[in-house]
Amino acid sequence: MGELNRRNFLKTLGVAGATISGIPANKLLAQSKSDLSEDRMGVLVDTTVCIGCRRCEWACKTAHDIPAGNLEDYSDESVFENMRRPANDAYTVVNRYENPADPRSPLNVKVQCMHCDHPACVSACIVGAFSKEENGAVIWDTDMCIGCRYCMVACPFQVPTFDYDKAIQPNIHKCDFCFERTKEGLLPACVEICPVEAITYGRRRNLIEVAEKRIELYPDRYVNKIYGFTEVGGTSWMYLSSRNFEELDFPKLGDKPAPGVSESIQHGIFAYFVPPIALYALLGGIMWISKNKDNKGEGKE
């Protein structure tokens, strides 16, 4: 324990130094500490398998008490003319992209919260209304939220949305990984309804093995990358595709957890309240000395 504290202390010293000298703090710090469960769950999305039936959109709305309409209406493919994003009334949407390798079977990309292993929203939230649960879900607590929307500023995938039209009790909306359903042993609604098993639910570490195997077996079918394996420190939702992910509007992100730099600066400034207290003592000393000097050399100034 003592050793740990000392290391933390040295770390924070290093970060404080780096903050002043201009070296990115994350170069000095290991990944922020995590109590991530080894058995946390995830989802593997295979964009080459998805047929774009959008049943997952319907199931998601139904599971979250959002008016969903008729399932038959979801076969209307005209929505693919525009690229859509998750919204207050749609926590997941499917977008369609051309597939140059096989023009007859386009790539369909399901978009929702990625459920980061080191979520920026959890780190940013002023009241700690977001949490990363043991099963991998990143969820939001309506009883705490003050509606500041810092989560939306922080999220590298631009996922959380806000009720701008509500004067009272506006909510933040995003996919909650069907936290209420999985607690009872049910599958996430989108996974359950998918007719072609384009989305696979399982332990994240197992899903990585599955994904690696698929890439190995079908090198022509996939680009050699699992999106979400390392992005911003890893995400619970991961993707396979035959096109480069940037062409499918996935943001190009580094491997460092999104909150890393800001958290280490934050803890550097505070560091067990040593810097503020030291500053207080220093200013107190100056005050005392200059007061005494004042009394001795009266009329000098």
Binding site: I126, R149, V153, A167, S262
Partner: protein, 412 residues
Amino acid sequence: MEHEFQPEQIKHKYFTPWVIVITLIALAGLAFLAVRYLFGLGAVTNLTQFFPWGIWIGLDVAAGVALAAGGFTTAALGHIWHRDKYEVLVRPALLTALLGYTFVALGVVTDIGRWYYVWHPLIMWNGNSALFEVGICVMVYLSVLYIEFLPIVTERFIGRVNLPGFLSMFNKIIDSLLRLLDRTLNKFMFVFIIAGVVLSCLHQSSLGTLMIIAGEKMHPLWQTPVLPLLFLLSAFSVGFPMVIMESLSASKSFGLKPEKDVLTSLSRFVGPILGIYLAAKIGDMFIRESFVYLTELTLPSIMFTIEIVVGVVIPLRMFLSSSVRQSTTGLYIASMLVIFGVVLNRFNNFVIAYNPPYTETSYFPSIGEISVTLGFIALEILIYRAFVMIFPIISLPVKSALRKTKYAIKGV
């Protein structure tokens, strides 16, 4: 020096044509504010799912906090370094900080969706969040500012409590309570003065940490791990120019003789502080090699250049010139430029630099947002004007030999 001046209530007509204009601006802002509270943020603002923060955070909160820096920088100079000749500036700066932070708090309450939960951070802590740190520091500092202001209230009312009607029976007891408060505060005020400076340093820098978490979404000209340091240095550098600008504005508005000697000596500090800020900003740019973005003509590169050249380099040169420092007009223009530079810097950091993915449109503030921002500024001016007429804030030359030395030194 301090023997020649004494804080007094200003005797002047409240309403002038300009004050009426300012009142109208304030009323327009209040009207839009009512719409926001009745129908939600969407009814008034141009905010979207991609641009969650606009000028209410970038200007009202971020720039508001920076411009209130005159309070703690002057308090540090006058009370911690005991440069007594600047004593005359401490009370006006304190009042500005007090009003500034009050309106920062109002700005936050207006911007957050659930304003009635604004107290949540007091009991729901997230030590990882830069916003939490800013929120707590601002709340505590606002309380400290009100405590620092109390001696001015006691000075105003001790021996002068005169309640109307049957309430007059309480006159005596209120008077003795004020005297007790005055004596107690006098002993412990140094605790609050130092705390005010420490709290200011903390949240001025943490305000810079806020946007770091936006990572790739923020333009590289501004996105840097040294943002907290840059925010702190720019807050230091805008503190005295704010005090100078306000002092000159107040003198002009009330037809007083400006305290030019004091302002000229105060302005000597500005050049070196601005120089350090500029060095940090340029140094950071070269270490991260972000200057490559200045070679292309884009909105960010133009805004960045204006911020540096007009807001830092030109006023730096002006404050280093002794003829500018001796001239009232020179001081006023140079101070306004520094203020402009810091306001633009906060606006750039929170609005211009923020470039979210998945959207073709960009954010431009709505009439409602602009009205509320201007309305808050107008209200601040109106309350400032009222306060310097009610309380002894602005120092005037003392003619009589009899001085009330008791309150002259304590002040704050």
